[in-house]
């Protein structure tokens, strides 16, 4: 269950509506307790496995239990998990709530009297790969996050040794699988080996059933291309093999992206196509008739050993810094990811990493699957937004105000004392408190979290004093720097751009890479991380005296957010500052954005960062000289 951005991040529908995001990223629901019940209506939950995102706010999601209890369902039959990712390492899952402490609160509560087979924590490393992690990094940061959670639980003294083994047994993971599917398969085997080692030796868990590495997967969206998008279904199928071929390291749940995700929001048919791929593998092929196919294979084991070793030493690095939370706070992990991603993008740009249809085999027949405009993708009815807000207002009027305020006080007290927030969270749900109100109360006590962006200190070979192996691209960077010097003389000061991420979507990889590249060619770059409001971006543009504003939006709500920023800039007298937008933007929308006054729209097919930089230089030059 992937909820819309506002319930994910702990706000109510009004906040999403303002950003034009209702229903674009996930189900347009989940603000009111009974939304959850409505959501699961007609679904045989006792036979289902539910995965719900996102970490901090899904504490509340586990109150599905409460909703179901009321509906008279048998809780024992419910199983599932909530994804929890280390708040920095998975940019999309970062909420504005301090995650780990809230997450750690949830565990002992569930372990003591588990209402069902609901696993309150799921360590998500999916976003690590999307953010650029190498297989070893994905292994290391996922496992070290699990270690930090378990260490925290153990140190809290809330559970005894027997209960602790059960807590360990309830840890589950959500991973990524990329196109190098043999290495990815080995990565899954490495996960199994490492988890067994950690649970046995660090935590002394004897029972092998509690040491099992249980995971779900969504295969990679990062590698899906806008060019020749029909090829993506082949990528998706190959990636699925990585997590299914090894019986000893097979995913418990597989979800596949749709072939057209680089174009826009997938339609039901697009998703059905991916579902059929799974069903064919499970029911038509003979895959499930065999035991493990790779046990004892020399080549596979050699790769697994290499990954285990690399990950183990990186785990030690993080532990020596105090653990996952500390390495997140210091920006260490994020910086490593940003650097890895920069290397990957440069390899694609240089042609060292082949991506079919992007930097190789780009010729071809027009695809009958792709038609012009927005018809390839889902469009969201704007009425859904108004309906959500209206429902919420009605809900607030109907509630027992006194009960809501009592529940809120109980929640605040628990948060202030550092007690488990689960009992008071149940009170809040029973009183009909909304997700935004619940999270708002916690924010008041715990503060709001802004993760390090990892960008400022990120080193790339182009930014180093002594460049290492960058091949042809160094000339490119040097010639860009010359152009930048000319622009600086023309402007009288160093060209300065703002890279903004408005809205609630947390996909910051593109914005980060643009920021780093811009710095490396000589821009001063103002970058403030995710979830900036349009007002915030306008204020920054004014105060920082920027020459250009770049907006990165991947929630599908570019129309509303961009219009707000343009309006704000005009009101602030900055109508001459060019605005460019990057994201997954269907062609019709791109045309509309340009008509609104956007200078340039970049989509996933603009993968050459140097070319983008050249365009920015040109835009600023033209604006300055006109």
């Amino acid at each position: 269950m992937w909820r819309s951005t506002s319930p994910q991040t702990g706000y109510d529908a009004e906040r999403s509506a303002r950003a034009g995001e209702v229903g674009k990223v996930g189900v347009p629901s989940g603000h009111r307790p009974h939304d959850m019940r409505a959501l699961f209506d007609g679904i045989p939950l006792e036979r289902m496995n539910t995965s719900a995102t996102i970490n901090a706010t899904i504490r509340r999601g586990s109150l599905v239990y409460v909703a179901l209890q009321r509906a008279g369902r048998r809780p024992g039959g419910l199983s599932g998990y909530a994804t929890t990712s280390s708040r920095s390492t998975s940019p999309a899952a970062r909420t504005s709530l301090p995650g780990p402490s809230v997450a750690a609160h949830g565990r002992p509560h569930h372990a003591r009297g588990p209402p069902c087979r609901w696993n309150p924590i799921n360590i998500c490393s999916y976003h690590l790969q999307e953010a650029g992690a190498t297989p070893s990094e994905e292994l290391a940061y996922a496992l070290v996050t699990a270690i930090s959670v378990l260490d925290h639980v153990r140190a809290s003294g809330r559970v005894n040794a027997a209960e602790f083994a059960e807590v360990v047994g309830r840890m589950s993971f959500f991973v990524n699988a990329g196109i190098r599917f043999i290495e990815e398969m080995c990565k899954m085997r490495a996960f199994v080996e490492l988890w067994d080692r950690i649970t046995r030796f660090r935590y002394g868990v004897e029972d092998s059933k509690f040491r099992r590495f249980r995971y779900g997967v969504q295969v990679n969206s990062l590698g899906l291309t806008e060019q020749q998008p029909e090829n993506n279904i082949l990528r998706i199928v190959l990636e699925m093999l990585a997590v299914t071929l090894s019986r000893d390291a097979r995913a418990r749940a597989v979800q596949l992206p749709a072939w057209n995700e680089a174009l826009g929001l997938p339609r039901p048919w697009d998703q059905q196509w991916s579902l059929r791929a799974q069903q064919i593998l499970a029911h038509e092929t003979d895959l499930l008739e065999y035991g493990d196919l790779f046990g004892g294979n020399r080549n596979v084991q050699a790769k697994v050993d290499e990954l285990v070793e690399g990950a183990w030493s990186e785990i030690q690095v993080v532990l020596s810094q105090g653990g996952a939370v500390e390495a997140v706070e210091s920006g260490y992990i994020k910086q490593r990811l940003v650097e890895s991603n920069a290397r990957r993008l440069r390899a694609i740009e240089d042609g060292k990493l082949t991506v079919v249809g992007v930097n190789a085999f780009t010729e071809g027949e027009p695809s009958p699957l792709v038609v012009d405009g927005n018809q390839n993708v889902l469009t969201v009815d704007p009425a859904a937004e108004a309906e959500q807000v209206a429902q919420l207002e009605r809900w607030r009027r109907m509630r027992d105000i006194a009960a809501v305020s009592r529940a809120r006080d109980a929640l605040r007290r628990a948060a202030e004392r550092g007690d488990s927030v689960m009992p008071s969270t149940i009170l809040c749900a029973k009183a009909g408190m909304t997700t935004g109100e619940w999270a708002g109360a916690l924010r008041e006590v715990l503060g709001e979290y802004r993760a390090p962006t990892g960008v400022a200190a990120a080193q790339t070979s182009a930014g180093r004093a002594a460049p290492v192996d960058v091949g042809g691209s160094m000339d490119d960077v040097d010639s860009l720097r010359m152009e930048m010097k000319r622009l600086e003389r023309e402007l009288g000061r160093r060209p300065r751009i703002l890279v903004g991420k408005p809205g609630l979507d947390g996909h910051s990889n593109g914005a980060e890479q643009i920021a780093i590249k811009a710095r490396d060619v000589g821009f001063d770059v103002v970058y403030e991380g995710i979830r900036a409001t349009p007002e915030h971006i306008v204020k920054s543009a004014v105060e920082e005296g920027v020459h250009l504003v770049g907006l990165s939006i991947l929630s599908g709500s570019h129309r509303v957010l961009v219009a707000d920023v343009l309006k704000g800039l005009r009101a602030a007298g900055l109508e001459r500052v060019p605005v460019v937008v990057g994201g997954i933007i269907p062609k019709d929308d791109a045309d509309a954005l340009r008509a609104d006054g956007v200078a340039r729209v970049f989509t996933p097919k603009d993968f050459e960062l140097s070319a983008i930089m050249r365009e920015l230089v040109e835009l600023i030059h033209v604006r300055a000289s006109s």
Binding site: T453, A456, V477, R493, R494, D524, Y527
Partner: protein
């Protein structure tokens, strides 16, 4: 220039009235290195310094090693100052890339404040590429903010040149350290680090650690004072910026310092800071040859001091030095 003077006057008035777009424009102008624009900026600054002399804000430099929580502390100070009804101008210095000169100015994200608040103005500056340190425009940028806001905070990562530079643009320098940061103490003992006006031990979340850290600092300072035979030791204060503890006390100390400072001494200190700044920036740009042309180090200082004492704005003095007589 007489043609241009009037619009700079108008701009200066708008800056003094605290108009945000005007403050932003003034900051853009003082960064502009084109000759004609430098002259305009000098006019603007002369105007601001003349009209705003009486109200130039207390400027507080916040410095310290990376990771001690300077941004969090700055955020906590901003929140408290705003709660007291005071406006704040903030200048944050981020390191720039040695090769490209470009920089990621990310500090805005770390200093948490209400983005809709019109009375907080935040501007980022990149540090100078090779040597570190504040860019030449920093002196004027501080001047612009000091004319427009009640309090000015200048946040820098105190390494090398930057620390000396911040001394020249700020009225008060606060060094932020964290418990157990032995390096900082070694620097102070060895005389590498200049003595700040105030030392804040941040992350004093645990009482025992905080007390220990405070004691360590005091001991180091005492040793240093004996060696240097100085009598005024900086005050040492423990805070937790994250949990907003000790912030009121810190502000009270800063206010006390501003209130008790003799106006004469303050303007003398500001003049000395400007003089250092101008001379250093001249040397940096013109090198040994430039120094010779002007008659050597002491001639440079004498000329700068005389011009400043005569009431010429620092920016005009710097500009005049660059024009071969």
């Amino acid at each position: 220039m007489s043609v241009r003077a009037p619009d700079m006057k108008a701009l200066a008035d708008r800056v003094l009235a605290g108009e945000r777009p005007a403050v932003a424009e003034a900051l853009n102008r003082v960064e502009d290195t084109r000759a004609a624009e430098r002259a305009r900026a000098a006019d603007l600054m002369a105007e601001l310094r003349a009209k705003g002399a009486a109200k130039l804000a207390h400027t507080i430099g916040i410095t310290g090693p990376p990771g001690v929580g300077k941004s969090t502390l700055a955020g906590a100070l901003v929140r408290k100052l705003r709660a007291d009804g005071r406006s704040v101008g903030m200048l944050a210095v981020d390191p720039s890339s040695v090769r490209s000169g470009g920089a990621v100015l990310g500090d805005r994200a770390r200093v948490a404040f209400d983005p809709s608040d019109e009375h907080v103005f935040f501007r980022s500056l990149a540090s100078k590429g090779q040597t570190g340190g504040l860019v030449d425009a920093a002196l004027s940028a501080v001047g612009v903010l000091a004319a427009a806001y009640d309090i000015v905070l200048v946040e820098t990562t105190g390494v090398g040149q930057t620390e000396t530079d911040v001394r020249d643009v700020a009225d008060t320098v606060v060094l932020v350290i964290q418990p157990g940061s032995g390096d900082t103490l070694q620097f102070i003992k060895a005389g590498i680090m200049e003595i700040p006006d105030l030392i804040v031990v941040n992350k004093a979340d645990e009482e025992r650690l905080a007390k220990q850290a405070q004691a360590d600092v005091k001991q180091a300072l005492a040793a240093e004072a004996r060696a240097e035979a100085r009598d005024v030791a900086p005050e040492v204060l423990s805070v937790s910026a994250l949990h907003r503890r000790g912030i009121d006390e810190l502000i009270a100390l800063l206010d006390k310092r501003a209130a008790e400072r003799d106006p004469e001494a303050l303007s003398r200190a500001r003049r000395d800071g400007s003089a250092h700044w101008i001379a250093r920036s001249y040397r940096r740009r013109h090198g040994e040859a430039g120094l010779e042309r002007i008659g050597g180090e002491s001639a440079l200082h004498a000329r700068v001091a005389a011009a400043l004492d005569g009431g010429t704005a620092p920016e005009r003095v710097a500009l005049d030095l660059d024009q071969p007589a």
